[in-house]
Amino acid sequence: MGAFAYLAPTNVEQALSQLAAEDAAGNRAQMLAGGTDVLVQMRSTDKGPRTFVDVKHIAEANEVRVGDDDVFVGAGIASAVLNENDELKALLPGLVEAADLIGSTQIQGRATIGGNLCNSSPAGDTIPALIACGAVCVVASPDGAKKVPTEDFVTGVGTNVLKPTELLVGFQIPRPKGRTADAYLRFIPRTEMDIAVCGAGVALTLDDDGTCTAAKVAIGAVAVTALPVPEAAVALVGTKVDDAALQAAAAAASALAKPITDKRGTVEYRKKVVGVLTRRAGAIARDRAAAR
């Protein structure tokens, strides 16, 4: 029987060698970011021993870099820290909102976007927001750095493309240009603390006369993984993102959703409300873009 252990590498190279060593020794290594899912699971559904590899001390995973073309957001940054970054909030309000929606103030102090994605829950709030803003996952691997589009990262409930020897370093996100903006909304029964019953992220670009020239829509908690909704994007592009266009996007989101009935909501409820959220998030993204 293995034992629990804890490692706190300070750079990617060290982390990769530790992951490789654990793998070679037949130990299970688990990246620890905010721990807000991992530690709960360790006490309930996944009690086995493992070596925690803490991402929070890895320099590269704690960087935010705003470049001319791209924004890099480290995987190990707590939501509360992201939310205090005014530049990031101004550029990617939808993504920061999604990160900010997860759990309480206390959870915010720990939870990270990287952890949210690697937990790979169907209901992860940042995943539709990441997809909508075109985020690419930067993965460090023994074979060198890999880039994985967010929509391809999660493979099932709680599973993803990462190998035991790999780690998620951060996200490369196209810097929103011109009148481009994003928004994310989710539905929960209370005002805080719940897991999303469904969620919708929208990013769109308007031209000078307010016509939508590009759009990306993604929905969460309505299928095994977060889903891009290309039909919803098609419904928005070429329109002024008016009520009719938003309604069409909503209908596309509802149509694509394949939810289940569980303790958090019914199939009918989720299909319907994910459309409502798509419409509302689309309107917010439109108004934000128009204001730029």
Partner: protein, 739 residues
């Protein structure tokens, strides 16, 4: 009874005696005690909702690393009653999470690991998971030996008991009505949701004397129940109540204590046991899921002619659903000439229910207050006016028999009618709903001692665990009675060996009944002081008065003496007969009923079904508010618990009877951002049976919010959703159905 204007301490809002410990982290709660050599106990729980236990074998667990004791049901040698079988199952497990065995080991991890080594042979049985299933013909029996009301001439039944209240001629009453409204309402299981999980530490000495430290609403009950389950003498068990982190009725019973004592006996070491949050949800006593039918008939002018209620409450795995209080409460606020109330106590394979704040009343009154709201709409009457027209008053006979002494329902209704929040228009697109609440309150047994130190400092010692500031109330009543400043009084909750017997902190009895014992113990002190002063002054006792904390000669008594304060008398007590010690014990009668009126404004998002509570106002008769801030606190806390129940709280079960949401993530109690400020107005119609007019206030507040919220949602939507909770999926489905 003292007039409010004469009162000096009562009605003020001082800091509570235990306050500093509670804001600094010093206060010791149930899980905060650790003893040298202490073991950690864990419980093995049933994976089945219903199964026969063919065999339990703890021998492998007992042999495991660090394990010092392992027990199963057969090891509890005392009474073999429902309580004992709930603490450790015997022949059958009756709900998912039912305790089957327990171990104590040197570390919690060792105890946890040892649970996996206990071998239990189950024969799974079909579970009974709803009232409908339980009362259907040919239903599986939760208990093959259960006969309704103990009548063995009839076949065994899942209906453990039926209770009825009848008055007049129900058929004639409805025939006389110009209008009749009826509906039926289902409310799922809800939990008290106290933030502190159950916890205890027990240590048994070599002489067999046990000490139990635990969080409880009644340590004397813990003593007697633990003794009964173990077949021990009460005298062998001392129970020390820790501070208690909420209970709301849920900590009036025992779960862990006999296990910890037994395993301490077996191991010779202290044993600490704490529940996880999941265990609290799965295996302690929530309140009943209910199915209530309500019907009311009235004349065109609003006068009620008849009312009927049929209640079916889930008891869980053992009898004891709160049908009595449910039946007592459902029509208590009204004068109804013809009525028929029936309550059914129904066994199902779910945890045995326990008291939850006004047990049984919120569910039945939700149903009745919904039909009364519909009646007001049909009659086009203001909901307050309709209720005022039929309101019970002094002299009204309650449906359960007694005639009400002075009560404050009409005063609350009139206060509501005059309240600025009621006059404020309902916000655009929102809805407003109003309902009445009631709880009868109880008295029961209490004891108190008042000890005067040599400098006149006062120690009040009583036995009612302080769950919400009652020490402050006791100190205020003592200050008022003795005529000394509040700051000179310390109020303590003693353990079972340092203070006299008190029944549980429950039934909203503490400030009323234990308060009365404290007042009487203070009066005992005053009598002694008068006697000591008389001795000092060479007067007769009858010639001495007690005024503002001092002994003085009565007017007209010719004595040239200085008044003697409590401190003066205490300082000289050795010369006048020894220390001052006042005592009282009583079985309090005349707990006055407390009525309330609540209304709320809500806004439903018609696209998502989510209800936002915009405003809430609670008006309640407190008789006399001893510490008004804590009375308001009861009103506000009860309101939010009631709103949580109405909005989102529910046990969600799968088809096998496994609760799917045993945590605060998905058992959704209100969070701060869900709620508005809760406006309160205290009405004071003094209870003639208490020296200062106190009525219990703790339970009434949770009763009206359920119907107030239902009625508000109905007001906005234009149609009624009968069942609770009004969770977003339910509300949206109902809206879609209307379209």
């Amino acid at each position: 009874m003292a007039e409010a204007v004469d009162l000096k301490a009562i009605g003020t809002r001082p800091v509570r005696p235990d306050g500093i410990d509670k804001v600094t982290g010093r206060a010791a709660f149930g899980a905060d005690l650790n003893l040298p050599n202490m073991l950690h106990g864990k419980v093995l729980r049933s994976p089945h909702a219903h199964a026969r236990i063919k065999n339990v074998d703890v021998s492998r667990a007992l042999a495991a690393d660090g394990v010092m004791a392992a027990i199963s049901g057969a090891d509890l040698a005392g009474v073999q009653n429902d309580l004992a079988k709930n603490i450790l199952a015997r022949d059958k497990v009756l709900y998912h999470g039912h305790a089957v065995a327990a171990v104590a080991a040197k570390t919690a991890a060792q105890a946890e690991a040892a649970l996996d080594l206990i071998e239990v042979d189950y024969e799974a049985l079909p579970p009974v998971l709803s009232i409908d299933d339980a009362i259907a013909d040919g239903a599986t029996l939760v208990n093959e030996n259960q006969h309704t009301n103990g009548d063995t001439s009839k076949p065994a039944s899942n209906i453990a008991a039926v209770q009825r209240f009848e008055r007049g001629d129900i058929e004639a009453g409805f025939a006389e009505a110009d209008i009749v409204v009826e509906s039926e309402h289902r409310v799922p299981t809800a939990h008290q949701g106290y933030i502190e999980p159950h916890a205890c530490t027990a240590t048994v000495n070599e002489d067999g004397k046990a000490t139990v430290w635990c969080c409880t609403q009644g340590h004397f009950d813990v003593r007697s129940l633990t003794a009964a389950v173990l077949g021990e003498s009460v005298g062998n068990i001392k129970v020390i109540p820790s501070e208690i982190g909420g209970g709301f009725g849920g900590k009036t019973i025992i779960y862990l204590e006999p296990l910890a004592v037994k395993m301490s006996q077996l191991s010779g070491r202290p044993v600490k046991m704490t529940m996880t949050r999941e265990e609290v949800f799965r295996a302690t006593g929530p309140t009943s899921a209910t199915w209530c039918k309500a019907k009311i008939g009235a004349k065109k002018d609003g006068t009620f002619t008849a009312a009927q209620a049929w209640l079916a409450y889930e008891a869980g795995a053992f009898p004891g659903a709160p049908i009595g209080p449910g039946c007592m409460s459902v029509l208590a606020p009204y004068k109804v000439p013809n009525l028929l109330i029936e309550g059914n106590d129904v066994l199902v394979n779910k945890p045995k229910v326990c008291a939850y704040r006004a047990p049984g009343a919120p569910q039945s009154m939700h149903a009745m207050e919904c039909v009364i709201d519909e009646l007001a709409r049909k009659l086009e009457m203001d909901p307050i006016d309709l209720r005022l027209k039929n309101a019970a008053d002094e002299g009204t006979q309650a449906p359960y028999g007694p005639t009400f002494p002075p009560i404050g329902l009409k005063e609350c209704l009139k206060a509501a009618k005059a309240h600025p929040n009621y006059a404020t228009p309902v916000p655009e697109g929102a809805g407003r709903g109003l309902a009445v609440g009631f709880w009868f309150n109880i008295g029961m047994q209490s004891s108190a001692e008042v000890r005067i130190a040599e400098d006149g400092m006062v120690t009040v010692m009583e036995g009612s665990p302080d769950i919400g500031g009652s020490r402050a109330g006791m100190a205020l009543m003592a200050a008022e009675t003795l005529g000394v400043p509040y700051e000179r009084i310390k109020a303590h909750v003693g353990d079972t060996e340092s203070t006299g017997f008190c029944n549980v902190t429950g039934g909203s009895r503490t400030t009323f009944a234990t308060g009365m014992a404290v007042i009487q113990a203070c009066e005992d002190i005053i009598a002694q002081c008068k006697q000591r002063a008389a001795l000092t002054w060479d007067l007769d006792e009858e010639q001495v008065d007690w005024v503002d904390g001092e002994a003085v000669p009565k007017p007209g008594v010719n004595a040239d003496v200085k008044p003697l304060s409590l401190a003066d008398i205490a300082r000289g007590a050795g010369r006048t007969g020894g220390p001052l010690l006042g005592r009282a014990s009583l079985n309090a009668q005349g707990a006055g009923a407390s009525f309330s009126v609540n209304w709320t404004d809500v806004k439903v998002d018609a696209e998502t079904g989510r209800t936002d509570v915009l405003a809430f106002t609670a008006i309640q008769d407190a008789g006399r508010a001893i510490h008004p801030a804590y009375v308001e606190g009861q009103m506000q806390g009860g309101a939010v618990q009631g709103l949580g129940w109405a909005l989102n709280e529910e046990y969600i079960y799968d088809a096998d009877g496994v609760m799917e949401n045993p945590g605060f993530l998905d058992y959704r109690v209100p969070v701060a951002s869900d709620m508005p400020m809760i406006d309160t107005q205290i009405v004071e119609v003094p209870n003639p049976s208490h020296p200062y007019g106190v009525r219990g206030v703790g339970e009434t507040p949770i009763v009206a919010p359920l119907a107030a919220l239902s009625n508000a949602v109905r007001d906005q939507l234009g149609f009624r959703i009968d069942d609770l909770p009004l969770s977003p999926p339910r509300v949206l489905a109902a809206i879609d159905e209307q379209r």
